[in-house]
């Protein structure tokens, strides 16, 4: 290509491949995303997104939980996966755990105390419960996340 014997492959052809290819793949991507959009309600069990779940997601976001944990495998890798924590530990454990932080064990990773009230803890658990029911193609491979 770059060499002198380009065999007639010109800059204009390269440019056309770039523009044409890009437009084609943008349209194809948009089409698949459009199809995916319509599958999301069923796959995510969207009917179960209660006001509690919505509030719980906001708690999750405004405490920057993603800065240490992963959720469905995305986030930071400093603390356990929480997409399936409801299945692994149960709601009561999650609440008790949050209230017991930080452990203060010397040298161990510490989780901040977020001073959530009972309602907020409940909302957060509802969010994590809903998340654990999302169809994730059977990920994670085992309960440890």
């Amino acid at each position: 290509m770059g060499a002198g014997n380009t065999g007639g492959f010109t800059k204009q052809m390269a440019r056309n491949i770039f523009y044409g290819g890009t437009v084609f793949f943008i349209l194809l991507f948009a089409a698949i995303v459009f199809h995916t959009e319509r599958q999301i309600p069923a796959r995510s069990n969207a009917a179960a997104i209660t006001p509690e779940v919505v509030r719980g997601k906001k708690i999750w976001e405004t405490r920057n939980c993603i800065g240490c944990h992963t959720l469905l495998g995305e986030g930071a890798y400093f603390a356990p996966e929480l997409g399936n924590v409801y299945t692994r530990r149960g709601g009561d454990f999650i609440k008790a755990w949050m209230q017991a932080q930080p452990t203060g064990a010397p040298g161990r990773r510490q989780m901040p105390q977020f001073h959530l009230d009972e309602q907020q803890l409940h909302d957060l658990v509802e969010f994590l419960k809903w998340t654990s029911q999302v169809n994730t193609e059977k990920w994670p491979p085992n309960i440890e996340g």
Binding site: M1, G2, T6, F9, T10, K11, A14, I17, F18, F24, F25, I26, F29, I32, V33, H35, T36, Q39, I40, R43, S44, I49, V53, K57, W60, E61, R63, N64, C65, G67, C68, T70, L72, G73, E74, G75, A76, F78, A79, P102, G104, A105, P106, G107, R108, R109, Q110, P112, F114, W130, T131, V134, T136, E137, W139, P140, P141, N142, E144, G145
Partner: protein
């Protein structure tokens, strides 16, 4: 060495952008070392700077300094490519200060105010956008980024429109417009987490594995044009083919993030097939860089810039290409998703592709902004040393994280029953985390050497025998 005059005076606005970029880069690395320590000494700096806060500072500084680097590069490159002065140097300078102050205020906010309070103070309730990885910025900061980006794009686009239109400036412009456009998805945060995650990738993936590659290609092509003197026709052709493959593989390659977040199963196929092809443009970039250097028609006095350029191509291929391919196929990613393998890839890809291309531009442009064609010989030698020290430091980090990731998968992910819990697994990875930290220390040393190169002057014989130096 001969003094050097910028072809267009307005190119000089690039200088503060480059200086700010390097200062923020240094901050990023310091916080990175803190994070590396927290992996080992869990309560280090707790509760003053918890891990999530330090990580937010680390990643946000990276994004901001790379944006400073891209903008500075564009302000430097576009007037020269367009053969005309920048539309408004004053606007460029004003936007510089706005962006710097907004960036600094945001980082200070992260460090001084609890995140939930910061969200309340900054109007997160008006439009909830905070608390998503890399997009943690408060609403006013996000709006500020859009305003700065629009002002910047206006300035650059006007300059291109009134002057010569080259392939390099057009590809760069497309990349920068794409960057701003995709950032708008950071304002999209549906209540449904699955939908939220999908559109989040429109920013993150379509930046780094999409439009940023256009910026990368254009900057690399520009420096190669300048330092090798190879015919533009040849370089333009390469550039178009590279960015064509980048987008033709990278757009549908987004699918490799859609495997396990609640989206339909066909993404396992779409993502695997197209992201497996994503190394192609990076491989082509490597061939391109070596090819151009081999066919160079001049010996440019700035040999350091050439090393950074070739380094970008090679390390970009290793980090984004090879380390990406390592875990991109869905059956592999099923086990590696969200492990230290991801961290290994992320570090090498960002360093290899984007950190190095910005340093390449700085290395090429900075001497000219300081009135000479190339840095003094000893300064260039320090730069070259710093390239190797940083690259080896990063290499140690990435190999350590890869080792940690493999062991983590083995202990925590592969067993179908009796898998080791997350924290117990982390205890088993300590050796690798120490190794990673040592690589990080090496990286910081390399960075200090790099920064010091700006303060190294000429030797006596360079000053005296200045005229025949120019090549």
């Amino acid at each position: 060495m001969k003094t050097f005059q910028l072809k267009y005076r307005s190119q000089a606005v690039a200088k503060p952008y480059f200086v700010a970029a390097l200062l923020l880069f240094t901050g990023q690395i310091v916080f990175g070392l803190g994070l590396g320590l927290q992996y080992l000494i869990g309560d280090f700096l707790f509760p003053a700077i918890p891990f999530n806060v330090a990580r937010m500072v680390h990643t946000n500084l990276l994004i901001v300094w790379l944006l400073f680097g891209f903008m500075g590069s564009a302000y430097y490159l576009v007037p020269e490519e367009s053969e005309t002065e920048l539309h408004s140097p004053k606007l460029a300078l004003a936007l510089f200060w706005i962006f710097l102050v907004a960036g600094a205020a945001t980082i200070a906010g992260y460090l001084l105010v609890p995140y939930a309070t910061l969200a309340e103070m900054t109007g997160n309730d008006l439009l909830q956008t905070m608390g998503r990885e890399f997009l943690e910025q408060p609403l006013p900061t996000k709006v500020g980024i859009v305003i700065v980006a629009l002002g910047f794009l206006f300035n650059i686009s006007m300059t291109v429109l009134k002057g010569r239109k080259t392939s390099i400036s057009l590809v760069l412009l497309l990349g920068l417009w794409g960057l701003a456009l995709m950032f708008l998805f950071s304002f999209v945060n549906p209540h449904n987490l699955v939908r939220d995650k999908m559109y989040w990738w429109f920013v993150v993936h379509l930046w780094v594995e999409g439009v940023w590659e256009l910026i990368l290609g254009a900057l690399l092509a520009y420096v190669l044009v300048k330092t090798t003197g190879v015919d533009r026709e040849v370089i333009d052709k390469w550039l178009y083919v590279i960015v064509a493959f980048a987008l033709m593989t990278g757009i549908l390659g987004t699918g490799h993030h859609f495997y396990f977040i609640g989206l339909p199963g066909y993404w396992l196929w779409v993502g695997s097939v197209f992201s497996a092809l994503e190394p192609i443009p990076f491989f082509m970039m490597t061939v391109f860089a070596f090819n151009m250097v081999q066919r160079r028609r001049r010996e440019h006095p700035n040999q350091a810039a050439l090393l950074w350029a070739v380094g970008t191509a090679v390390m970009g291929f290793l980090g984004a290409g090879l380390w990406g391919f390592l875990h991109t196929l869905s059956p592999v990613n099923y086990y590696t998703h969200g492990t230290q393998i991801t961290a290994a890839h992320g570090h090498l890809a960002f360093y290899g592709a984007y950190v190095l291309v910005v340093i390449t531009m700085i290395s090429y442009a900075m001497p000219t902004l300081r009135g000479r064609e190339a840095a003094p010989r000893r300064a260039q030698a320090a730069e070259m040393w710093s390239f190797w020290i940083m690259t080896i430091g990063m290499g140690v980090m990435v190999l350590a994280l890869t080792g940690a990731g493999i062991l983590q998968v083995w202990l925590q992910r592969l067993p179908e029953s009796g898998a080791m819990p997350f924290m117990a697994t982390q205890d088993q990875l300590r050796f690798f985390y120490w190794l990673r930290l040592s690589g990080g220390v090496g990286f910081l040393i390399g960075l200090v050497v790099y920064l010091s190169s700006f303060f190294i002057g000429e030797t006596a014989d360079e000053t005296l025998g200045s005229v025949p130096q120019a090549a």
